[in-house]
């Protein structure tokens, strides 16, 4: 049953509200309002970006990823933003604007907006930052309860793909699921006990006046805050799924965003190296080489493979006959290769709106290598049809072969072990 858009958006706002309350309860400063999140999704302008910069700064400081002294020592907004970018890099977030030298000021021609900051926030949440903030805050405020059990799943670094590893993975998944259940139940129990303690404190503080009451009142406030924090966390956990569905839509927005302006580099000249070296690219190239080709393709240019779906990607292909690689924007995954074209992935850094006067954007250079997207689409559709036909032929051949094999096996007698 489809709910109305209004109902969905109200729900999303409430869920984001729960997140904001939780972030505020963990002691973070500068938590934006839910409405700001919505505006960030659509690129809300400098004011929205500022708020998210501050939030990211606050998070990275609170979790100790970037020490406060670093911020104190460096002065200037741009330097602070570079620090934030560096902090994000540390957490494993390697978006272009983070790994680009300028750290989010549009730098080398990326089209940077508050949405990127929102996505960075999503990354931090997904990697357990909330739980770190929560634990940190609880340890600050609460000196009577035990620390939670450190979970150590003991993942080996090299998992070869065969059935034993699969079973091990299934075991680990089950184990993690049970750990999660245990931890959640511990949190519930802790909240309940805190409520009971708080209630008891409140009752006694009513009856005994003055001297000890200031201390008690402080304890009371502390415990109340702790209760609020844990409740906020539990409320958040229950609605977390909705938030991630919304983040999916933010990512979709990001990927389907048409890049209006040409990046500063010429297409052949982009040589951004993936931070993993070009290993990923090489593997990918190997895969491409191994795929059957109807006609020989010619390579055109080199590009880097980027696996993350958060960045818009462009496909550049070469062909022998038409020699016109199509330029397509924002296809997150590579479709099957057309016979005629050789597809390559290439990263583009979207240009930030509002260029500085010093960096004049290039006009769209019309190189002979390029096709407008409509023609490219047609070519690809044609290629798809050819590939499908080839696949069906192959399937038929396989089936015939299988039948022949089965026919031969009919004469075999199988002895069970």
């Amino acid at each position: 049953m489809r709910r109305s858009k209004a109902a969905v958006s109200v729900e999303v706002r409430q869920v984001i509200g729960a997140l904001c309350r939780l972030l505020a309860a963990t002691g973070l400063h500068a938590v934006p309002a839910p409405e700001t999140f919505r505006r960030a999704k659509f690129g809300g302008g400098l004011e929205v970006e500022d708020q998210f910069w501050q939030l990211l700064t606050s998070i990275l400081q609170s979790t100790g990823i970037v020490p406060c002294e670093a911020f104190n020592q460096l002065e200037g907004v741009s330097k602070h933003r570079k620090l934030v970018a560096a902090g994000l890099w540390q957490t494993g977030y390697h978006a272009d604007w983070v790994s680009g030298g300028e750290g989010g000021e549009g730098g080398q021609g990326g089209r940077f907006s508050s949405r990127d900051l929102l996505l960075a926030l999503g990354w931090l949440l997904a990697t357990g930052t909330l739980e770190k903030l929560l634990t940190h805050r609880v340890q600050q405020m609460d000196n009577i309860l035990l620390t939670p059990i450190p979970v150590n799943p003991q993942l080996s670094s090299e998992l070869q793909l065969h059935s034993a590893s699969l079973r091990k993975l299934q075991w680990l998944i089950g184990s993690l699921k049970y750990q999660g259940q245990i931890l959640l139940s511990m949190q519930e129990e802790r909240t309940r006990l805190l409520h009971a303690v708080l209630f008891a404190i409140l009752q006694t503080s009513v009856s005994s006046p003055d001297q000890s009451s200031t201390v008690l009142r402080e304890e009371c406030v502390c415990v109340q805050q702790l209760c609020d924090l844990l409740e906020a966390y539990l409320n958040w956990k229950q609605v977390e799924n909705v938030f991630w569905t919304w983040m999916d839509s933010v990512v979709d927005c990001h990927l389907t965003d048409p890049v209006v302006e040409k990046p500063t580099h010429a297409p052949n000249g982009i040589t951004r190296v993936c931070h993993h070296g070009n290993r990923g690219l090489e593997k990918f190239e190997d895969m491409i080489l191994r795929l059957p080709r109807g006609q020989k393709g010619q390579r055109r240019g080199r590009g880097d493979a980027e696996d993350r779906g958060e960045r818009g990607e462009r496909l550049q292909g070469g062909s022998d006959t038409s020699s016109l690689p199509p330029l397509l924007s924002s296809l997150p995954s590579l479709p099957t290769l057309p016979q005629v074209y050789r597809a390559k992935l290439q990263t583009e850094k979207p240009i930030k709106r509002g260029f500085r006067p010093a960096e004049v954007p290039h006009s769209w250079p019309e190189t002979p290598d390029e096709l407008p997207s409509s023609q490219a689409t047609q070519l690809l559709l044609h290629a798809e049809a050819l590939l499908l036909e080839r696949r069906d032929r192959q399937r038929l051949a396989n089936r015939i072969q299988l039948q022949e094999m089965v026919g031969k096996l009919d004469e075999l007698v199988l002895i069970p072990p």
Binding site: L146, I149, Q154, A164, S165, R167, K168, Q170, W171, L172, I173, G174, S175, K177, Y178, Q179, Q181, I182, L184, S185, E188, E189, R192, P417
Partner: protein, 443 residues
């Protein structure tokens, strides 16, 4: 944290009653205070008068056994069942799983759910639910399966442990194998772990170790209760930070049954002897552990008749065969030591990787709980809860016999008339074949 027990059918109610007896006696036996408090909180609810009321719900389709259990508990003077914690009918299930699952279960669902809910709400914190039943009859197996399903729906994130009693192989009930197959296949999807006691095995313990001449169900049930008690009484675990663990079911399940295809747990305890002899025996940890380890790997459930020839072999040499006696490979083991000098016990032999399957390291596969408090009069006792091939052959026998009957469609109409079709039977056979195959390939 408390465990709520749901006793289902005749066997479930009898074994459950013995379990509460053992646990209460052990807790109140002049033990240390922390242990007693933990044990009482786990299994009993204390009334304002100081009475211990078992955290249990009794369900049966006949009133006789429930009434007996309730009156015997009350007579003991130490604990009792809740006055309204039971539900019974007059008619029984006729040893028909379909009757229990399709008719009695749904009909009385609301009442049973209400009883369980009341018990759960009385707990400060629920550690989990334990459903106790046999698989041979109609109520325990059929109604028990249905109730487990309902509990899983209402409490999706609570740990549910099913304790099953498997019938004598020679047969108490002619359709017991059908009932067993249907129960196991359904429970495998619902339960977090399935702990099994076999009547045949426990009977041998009674006759050979306990020297009981005329073995009654009461004797068998007391042995089962002793073994269960030694698993569920408070213990210090790796995660419990020096206090008695508050999460016994969660830790049990997450040490042993993380993989969805491997959920069958078997229990072995040492020593087991007539209570009169206990006072005259001395035990040493090395001796106990050596015997227990050999019991595990040779798949003997008793300290008599252990096959000392069975040795751990390298993985490549192991044959996975259902016919030839072979080394019992474990997926995971939980060793529980209770009694004097427990901290000096050397358990390294149980961490030998040769005991375990190759894809799980022995650090992950082996878990150890300890309690310095002696259990049930034994100065030292050791229990191993094992997720291993120990139940493979009995399971295969049950499925084999059921399949032979099914091949001639014997008695199937009795099930069909209550709503279980041949398709359901075939699905159950398929699931259990999958389980058998998984366990066979454990090497």
């Amino acid at each position: 944290m408390s465990v709520v027990t749901v006793q289902l059918g005749q066997c479930g109610n009898q074994v459950g009653h013995e379990l509460f007896d053992v646990v209460c006696a052990d807790a109140q036996d002049g033990q240390r205070k922390a242990y007693s408090t933990a044990s009482c909180e786990r299994f009993f609810h204390q009334t304002t008068h100081g009475d211990l009321v078992a955290r249990a719900v009794l369900v049966d389709m006949e009133p006789k056994v429930i009434n007996q259990s309730i009156s015997r508990a009350a007579k003991s003077g130490r604990w009792r069942y809740g006055e309204t914690s039971h539900f019974s009918q007059k008619q029984g299930s006729g040893n028909n799983w379909a009757n229990g699952y399709c008719v009695h279960g749904p009909r009385h669902r609301d009442m049973v759910e209400e009883l369980v809910r009341r018990e759960v709400e009385r707990c400060d914190r629920l550690a989990g639910l334990m459903a106790m039943m046999s698989v041979a009859g109609g109520t325990g197996s059929g109604v028990g399966t249905y109730v487990t399903q309902c509990l899983r729906d209402i409490y999706p994130s609570t740990f549910i442990l099913n304790h099953l009693t498997w019938p004598y192989g020679t047969g108490e009930v002619i359709v017991q194998n059908y009932n067993s197959v249907l129960t196991l296949a359904h429970l495998y999807k619902l339960s977090d772990a399935i702990m099994v006691h076999e009547n045949d095995t426990v009977h041998r313990i009674c006759s050979q170790l306990l020297n009981i001449k005329h073995i009654s169900f009461g004797d068998v049930n007391r042995v089962i209760a002793h073994q269960l008690g030694s698993v569920l009484q408070p213990a210090l675990t790796a995660d419990s930070h020096g206090v008695y663990s508050r999460n016994p079911l969660g830790e049990l399940v997450s040490s042993l049954a993380c993989h969805p295809e491997y959920k069958l747990l078997s229990v072995s305890t040492i020593p087991q002897m007539p209570s009169a002899s206990i006072a005259y025996s001395t035990f040493s940890w090395p001796g106990l552990l050596k015997h227990l380890r050999q019991m595990l790997i040779s798949n003997t459930k008793m300290e008599e008749g252990i096959d000392w020839q069975v040795r751990p072999t390298a993985g490549s040499e192991r044959t996975s065969s259902l016919t030839a006696p072979s080394f019992n490979t474990s997926l995971a083991n939980l060793l529980i030591l209770r009694g004097k000098d427990v901290y000096s016990a050397e358990t390294g032999a149980f961490e030998d990787p040769a005991l375990y399957t190759s894809w799980l390291s022995s650090q992950e596969a082996f878990n150890l709980w300890k309690s310095p408090v002696p259990f049930n009069k034994y100065e030292k006792s050791a229990t191993v809860v094992s997720n291993s091939q120990a139940l493979l052959r009995p399971l295969d026998n049950i499925v084999g016999k059921a399949w032979n009957m099914f091949a001639s469609r014997a008695y199937i109409h009795q099930y069909v008339k209550f709503g279980i079709s041949e398709e359901d039977f075939l699905d159950s056979f398929t699931s259990l074949e999958q389980v058998i195959s998984s366990y066979s390939q454990l090497c």
